[in-house]
């Protein structure tokens, strides 16, 4: 059981790279059409067909990356904090936060410098937001988020140990509430004044993501009971996964029709968020590692460094292809394959170089 979490981390980082690569695939289809001749058009994205369904389904599944990271973190922090006092827990946490913060600051700075070279200027407030809220690039939000959860983890662990059902139920309700402003935004609805309180949840990643960290903690403490329960109700559980998956897809199509958008990121949908919770639990309970997992585990062990550095890598690759190999932009599946391969492979290569050069003395500060 424990070892497959390393595999899950590996799959999750590949999913994260894929999910962010789709942004460039959609950008190519929507805005770079003059660079290639292909059947991949903006219209093709908005109507259900084999191509658009492939992109939407894979994107929906790949969106489980961050929930999976949080689940693994919740599980592992529970392992570290089990039978520790709050004081001992914070001693453990201090070092961990340090090795999360240093690479985050370095890669945020690299991103800011890259954007400045591109011509973007930052105000002081924007720079503060970059480091404090993870706004160097969209996926950087994950680091302040996980640090908040780690800081809360000694208390969360004790609370979950005592009241697992109550705490999880509250977290699910808060997560559902945090999705509602997303629907208002997509459908361009001005909410009633009585619903103004929802704006509290609007921009809080903690509210919308806490549930997966908590599921990790609950799973660590009660895994025997959870495994026995889910194995007993296997078919019902599989039905739930399939049901939330299909409803999530239908929901996205309806939202696209109603809003006129030709692409919607499904990660904030209430139904899809339930789907992620079920999918991760299904993996943790039913997945059996086989002999071929070690490469994915290798990637999983380096997931944090890949996560921080893949954003720029895939952006540079996509822009290079725009200039040098524009015909690939229209071959969406090949384009995505190249971006994922380079998005995972390039950080791994730089990590390897860091290990065999004098940079090895600061390896953990660069990559975590």
């Amino acid at each position: 059981m424990t070892r497959k979490l390393l595999f899950l981390n590996g799959i999750a980082i590949i999913f994260a790279v894929y999910h962010h690569s789709i942004y460039w695939a959609v950008t190519a289809i929507n805005y770079w059409g003059d660079r290639f001749i292909s059947s991949a058009t903006p219209e093709l994205l908005s109507i259900p067909n084999a191509f658009s369904l492939f992109l939407r389904i894979t994107d929906q599944i790949a969106g489980s990356a961050v929930p999976a990271f949080l689940f693994v973190s919740g599980f592992l922090y529970s392992f570290s904090l089990d039978r520790q006092t709050i004081r001992q827990s914070y001693r453990l946490i201090q070092k961990r936060i340090l090795y999360l913060l240093f690479p985050y600051i370095i890669w945020s700075t690299v991103t800011v410098v890259f954007r400045a070279i591109e011509g973007r200027s930052y105000t002081v407030v924007e720079l503060i937001r970059v480091y404090l809220l993870g706004e160097a690039d969209a996926p950087f939000y994950y680091v302040p988020l996980i640090i908040q959860m780690i800081i809360l983890s000694p208390f969360l662990f004790k609370a979950v140990k005592k009241y697992p059902v109550v705490i999880l139920s509250i977290a699910f309700v808060i997560q559902a509430l945090s999705s509602i402003p997303w629907y208002f935004k997509i459908l361009e609805i001005t909410p009633l004044q009585s619903l103004n309180f929802l704006s509290v949840f609007k921009s809080s990643y903690l509210f919308s993501h806490l549930v997966w960290f908590l599921i990790g903690i609950v799973f660590f403490i009660y895994r025997q009971k959870i495994i026995a329960f889910l194995k007993k109700y296997l078919w019902g559980f599989l039905f739930l996964i399939a049901f939330t998956f299909f409803i999530g897809q239908l929901e996205i199509q309806q939202l696209m029709n109603a809003s006129g958008n030709n692409w919607i990121n499904s990660q904030a949908s209430i139904v899809t968020r339930f789907f992620y919770s079920f999918l991760i639990l299904a993996f943790a309970v039913f997945w059996e590692n086989n002999a071929s997992v070690s490469r994915i585990e290798f990637i999983g062990a380096r997931s944090y460094g890949i996560y921080l550095s893949h954003i720029l890598t895939i952006e540079i690759c996509a822009r290079l292809m725009y200039h040098i190999l524009p015909f690939i932009l229209g071959q969406t599946v090949i384009f995505l394959g190249i971006l994922v391969f380079l998005g995972v492979g390039t950080p791994l290569l730089i990590m390897y170089v860091s290990r065999i050069t004098p940079l090895k003395t600061v390896y953990s500060y660069l990559w975590g």
């Binding site: 059981m1 424990t2 070892r3 979490l5 390393l6 981390n9 973190s73 592992l76 922090y77 392992f79 570290s80 089990d82 039978r83 520790q84 001992q88 001693r91 453990l92 201090q94 070092k95 961990r96 340090l98 090795y99 895994r223 070690s294 585990e297 999983g300 062990a301 997931s303 944090y304 290990r355 090895k360 003395t361 600061v362 390896y363 953990s364 500060y365 660069l366 975590g368």
Partner: protein, 83 residues
């Protein structure tokens, strides 16, 4: 090579890169930040590959992974009982 040396070398070469140049067998691995929680997973994977021994879930507790000596002691016991 004895279990303790193998584990110590793996931690030093793979997990503590850039964190510590030397580790003592009694150093608190998590407490001193020599490895992180993901490092525990890597240790479990390494033990399973190197010693051909599957670490049961119930044995993945902080006491067994506290230090190199605690881990090698646990592993020596398990490998001996396995025969």
């Amino acid at each position: 090579m004895e279990t303790q040396t193998i584990i110590q070398k793996f931690i030093l070469d793979e997990l503590a890169k850039g964190r510590k140049k030397t580790i003592d067998v009694d150093d608190d691995l998590l407490g001193e930040g020599i490895i992180d929680s993901l490092g525990i997973l890597q240790l479990v994977a390494f033990i399973e590959e190197k010693f051909n021994y599957t670490v049961p879930d119930e044995d993945v507790v902080i006491e067994n992974f506290m230090s190199v000596s605690a881990l090698s002691h646990y592993l020596d016991q398990k490998l001996a009982s396995k025969g």
